[in-house]
């Protein structure tokens, strides 16, 4: 295999992903599409973490925290903000032109909470002006955008705070941040609904027409293309970055920060930048996923979830964003498809538990025998063979006696 064939295979894979939802007609369509959407979500997280940890050497354990910041920002935005043409007098509100931006009071965990807006509705009905009142919510895309920005802001903050921390200290610091965030979300039940979870409206609440066909809010095809689009966009941005000076500089600072500085690399700037960029990607994935799933809980912040993303990137290959992404997709499918239990003689193997054992074993074997990950080892072998061939042919050409005219 040659590097050109590898690129061709990559292109084929991309075409496959683009046409799959249109061609697949299995009875388990929704389930398979759900697997793909979740796989793209993890692929964004694993590949952006690979950029942060594999390329820049920043072994952060709070990538899922940035994802949650994206999800919770859009979740809170979606639950708390309304526009009204009439002041409610019961909620916190701000006049913006001839409209009012209404912020709900904490919604709490009651099954059907009576919000300040409900109180306002009653008052308007009593006053007989309910027909004139127009209430609306800002588009959820603003919430998602705000989630991405918040991810970047926290990425900047954490990036600046961990500047002088390396290896295990950086890891512990970021675990600490992630746990604090989980504790705050869990504790602020009145605002975030804690373990009950914050519910979000679907990505396309009124459905959407694509390719001349109407898809309802619950159809999986629109979110598939949205998550795939986000995944490919992140991959394209990261691909451009790693091929640019930025990629070179972050790899240099990973290997030797002092030497990089002595070569005029502003290591502080690049370290913070890589945190901001990868945090924004994680936040974008988290915000879209939260709307797709329809609920977000603090459980996405447990250390096991972060370990899963790390394991996906490690098994794929830490030093390649594409390999990490493929690793995430393969692992996500394997974990779901291995759920089917089977019998060996009198024993039933409960795969819902045992699949995690296989996964753990795979991780251990990868770390022991394929330090570059399973996918990246293959890519690397093809590339190295090509370089070795080129060097040998250059040497042979130099050694051959030249003809004299």
């Amino acid at each position: 295999m040659t590097p050109t064939m590898l690129r061709f295979a990559g292109l084929l894979g991309m075409v496959f992903l683009l046409v799959f939802p249109l061609l697949y007609t299995g009875s388990n369509y929704s389930f398979i599409m759900h697997l793909w959407i979740t796989a793209f979500f993890y692929a964004i997280l694993a590949s952006s973490w690979a950029l942060l940890a594999g390329y820049a050497g920043q072994f952060s354990f709070c990538h899922m925290a940035f994802m949650a910041i994206g999800g919770y920002t859009t979740g809170l935005f979606n639950n708390y903000l309304y526009f009204s043409n009439t002041p409610t007098t019961t909620c916190t509100e701000f006049a913006i032109g001839d409209r009012w931006l209404v912020v709900l009071d904490p919604i709490g965990v009651a099954a059907s909470p009576r919000t300040c807006l409900d109180a306002a509705h009653s008052a308007w009905a009593e006053a007989g002006i309910a027909g004139e009142v127009l209430i609306g919510q800002p588009s959820l895309w603003f919430g998602i955008g705000l989630g991405v920005i918040m991810g970047g802001v926290f990425g900047l903050l954490i990036g600046a705070l961990v500047l002088r921390l390396r290896t295990v200290y950086l890891a512990l610091f970021t675990v600490g941040f992630s746990e604090i965030l989980r504790a705050v979300i869990s504790a602020e039940i009145a605002v975030t609904r804690g373990q009950a979870g914050l519910e979000l409206s679907p990505l396309f609440p009124d459905g959407i027409t694509l390719f001349g066909t109407y898809f309802a809010a619950t159809h999986k095809l629109p979110p598939y293309y949205l998550m795939l689009g986000l995944f490919l966009l992140c991959l394209a941005i990261m691909g451009l970055l790693v091929r640019s000076r930025f990629g070179l500089f972050i790899r240099a600072l990973r290997e030797d920060e002092d030497a990089a500085q002595a070569l005029a690399v502003n290591t502080v700037r690049y370290k913070i930048l890589v945190f901001v960029i990868t945090s924004m990607m994680a936040a974008a994935a988290g915000a879209v996923q939260a709307h797709y799933v329809g609920i977000i809980t603090p459980n996405i912040l447990i250390i096991l979830q972060m370990s899963l993303v790390i394991a996906m990137a490690v098994i794929g290959g830490l030093e390649s964003i594409v390999a990490a992404a493929i690793g995430a997709i393969v692992i996500q499918f394997a974990l779901e498809l291995l759920r089917t239990s089977f019998d060996i003689g009198p024993w039933t193997i409960d795969m819902s538990v045992w699949r995690l054992v296989f996964f753990g074993l795979l991780l251990m074997l990868t770390l022991r025998f394929f330090r570059n990950g399973l996918i990246f080892s293959l890519i690397l072998k093809v590339e190295r063979d090509a370089v070795a061939k080129e060097t040998v042919s250059k040497r042979q050409a130099a050694a051959e006696p030249k003809e004299i005219d």
Partner: protein, 229 residues
């Protein structure tokens, strides 16, 4: 070109450099000498901004640099070849050389580097870590030259390197200094190498600068007193 005045540096509470003064004239080649552990590497690192100093002045081409970060010092024209080479092992030879190009605005690696070290052209796509010690040293010098510096600082460029390459490196340093007019400040333990390459010497002893002069003035007394082990 480079003036260091009253430089004091500490590692924790250990006082390492004591009121060090050093002058490196433009176009000169100065060798910083002294036994192991007298503070030569620390002084170079302090000049480069890789360790913090407690007090003192560092002036380069009329610019005060004592508070400037390392990357700025590289930007204004100081090239640094660290002790032990410290090349980027996972990056290819070409990538190692490309890092410094950013500030010069050049898109291509200057041909001069391959002219001085032809092996780097042959090994262009190999990883830095795959190179031999001598080749890595050549790469480390080439990498600093990609910045197109005016002052080149080398920390023991011949340490642990086979004799044939030591000779080659000596010739390259002389060519850079004499043909290209590059100012050179190097730390060197090998006396014959230092005598051949440098025209000035500065000797350090227990964190202090104790002797300076033109290379012919480095007599046996000074060698016995400050350099002999």
């Amino acid at each position: 070109m480079l003036t260091v005045k009253g430089l004091n540096q500490y590692y924790g509470e250990s006082h390492i450099l004591w009121d060090v003064d050093l002058d490196v004239a433009a176009g000169s080649c100065t060798c910083l000498m002294g036994r192991n552990g007298v503070g030569k590497t620390t002084l170079l690192k302090a000049i480069m901004g890789l360790v913090r100093i407690r007090s003192g002045h560092i002036e380069y081409a009329g610019q005060a640099l004592a508070k400037a970060p390392a990357h700025y010092r590289a930007r204004v024209g100081i090239g640094y070849v660290p002790q032990g080479r410290e090349i980027f092992p996972q990056l290819t030879v070409e990538e190692n050389l490309l890092i410094g190009l950013d500030i010069t605005g050049a898109k291509q690696i200057p041909e001069r580097i391959f002219e001085l070290f032809p092996i780097l052209k042959t090994m262009r796509r190999r990883r830095g870590g795959d190179l031999s010690g001598g080749q890595q040293q050549q790469l480390a010098i080439g990498r600093a030259l990609a910045l197109q510096p005016k002052l080149l600082i080398l920390d023991e460029p011949t340490e642990g390197i086979q004799p044939s390459i030591v000779q080659e490196i000596g010739q390259v340093i002389r060519r850079l200094n004499q043909d290209d007019g590059l100012t050179v400040l190097l730390v060197e333990q090998k006396l014959p190498f230092a005598r051949k390459v440098a025209e000035h010497f500065s000797i350090m002893e227990r964190g202090r600068l104790v002797a300076t002069g033109a290379m012919p003035e480095l007599d046996d007394d000074l060698v016995r007193q400050y350099l002999a082990v």
